[in-house]
């Protein structure tokens, strides 16, 4: 017995509602996966960037260390040269003072400057002039002073004056001279 004259439509699981639902579900899943992939990609990029930064930092650290070593070396060169220049200037003043110390009436034939002493050879008209005009100032500078006299032509006397400083006093004087020059 037939109730209808048309053929029954074949029912499908993919109805328009179901298709809409699948489209919605697919979009949701794609968005979720997209976000996840984006985060994974960014993480990889961050790790890569951190690696690059670490490498740059290492290069910079090495560079800074090298430059600091160069700076320290130049400062050392500067300090050493300053010390030497001061020594030369102190030496010049010392020699100048020595020759200024010798009176007109006494003639030096030789002057030997040692690190902590001075040996003078020369001729003097007599012992008194030597003692008052040369030996007295030498005694005020040096701690040990020895003088020897030998007769020379015309009644003059040849002398050898040997003068030394105590080691401690000499060290102090050296420091004082250097400080004064630095100022």
């Amino acid at each position: 017995m037939r109730y209808s004259y048309i053929k029954p439509r074949k029912k499908s699981l993919l109805t328009p509602e179901m298709k809409l639902l699948f489209a919605f579900f697919s979009m949701s899943i794609v968005m979720l996966m997209g976000t996840y992939v984006f985060l994974l990609y960014k993480d990889v990029m961050f790790i890569e960037d951190k690696k690059n930064i670490a490498e740059k930092k290492e290069i910079l650290k090495k560079n800074i260390k090298d430059m600091e070593e160069k700076i320290a070396y130049i400062e050392q060169q500067n300090n050493t040269s300053a010390k030497i220049f001061t020594q030369n200037a102190v030496l010049k003043d010392s020699i100048k003072n020595l020759f200024d110390l010798v009176p007109q009436r006494i003639t030096l034939s030789r002057a030997k400057l040692l690190e902590n002493g001075l040996i003078l050879y020369g001729i003097t008209p007599n012992k008194d002039i030597y003692n008052f005009m040369l030996n007295a100032p030498l005694r005020s500078i040096f701690h040990k002073t020895y003088s020897s006299f030998y007769p020379a032509d015309g009644g003059w006397l040849r002398f050898v004056s040997t003068n030394y400083m105590d080691d401690d006093e000499f060290a102090n004087l050296k420091v004082d001279n250097m400080e004064n020059k630095d100022e």
């Binding site: 961050f46 930064i53 740059k56 060169q77 030497i84």
Partner: protein, 178 residues
């Protein structure tokens, strides 16, 4: 029971599956990855700040080095210049009447620098010449320290001066300023 259609059951079932997937995916993958992303971003930002600080300090040290090199060019060059006796004699022959330089064997190291010892014999007319030499030696092409003993001896109208000099230069194993 007969009021719920088969289609509604499918929709309900699919929705439940999707919801379960979304929840599981979010809590197990997306949220931990998001936290990791935030953490990495903060760390990277710190690293960038740190790098910038290093770059600034590097530039500062570089400026300081260049300034020092410019200010002390004469000293740096003098320490780098090897001592040549002929050149020294040529340079200072105008100061002295005669000048002779002899190398001494007792080379040493002082303050990390090589020290080359030489003995100098010269003839001068007045002590003033020697003062002039001491002034000029500080501006020479080498770092030279005039050293004791210094001997001045009258020789007719001239004075024979004999003294030692220490010439300082960069030691071979520490030529870092080059």
């Amino acid at each position: 029971m007969s009021s719920i259609s088969r289609q509604s059951i499918y929709i309900l079932l699919l929705s439940t599956i999707l919801l379960t997937f979304v929840l599981l995916f979010s809590f197990n993958a997306l949220i931990p990855e998001g936290k990791e992303y935030r953490l990495q971003r903060v760390q990277l930002s710190k690293e960038y700040k740190d790098l910038k600080r290093y770059q600034e300090y590097d530039a500062q040290v570089y400026d300081e080095l260049k300034k020092l090199q410019a200010d002390h060019r004469h000293i740096i060059t003098a320490f780098d210049t090897p001592f040549e006796k002929q050149r020294f004699v040529k340079k200072y022959k105008d100061v002295f009447k005669t000048l002779e330089i002899t190398s001494l064997d007792n080379n040493s190291t002082e303050d990390g620098f090589s020290v080359y010892n030489v003995k100098t014999s010269s003839k001068i007319s007045t002590p003033t010449t020697f003062y002039k030499f001491l002034d000029e030696i500080n501006k020479s092409d080498w770092i030279v320290a005039v050293n004791f003993p210094i001997d001045f001896q009258r020789d007719g109208d001239m004075i024979t001066s004999t003294f030692q000099m220490k010439v300082y230069s960069n030691s071979k194993d520490s030529n870092r300023s080059k």
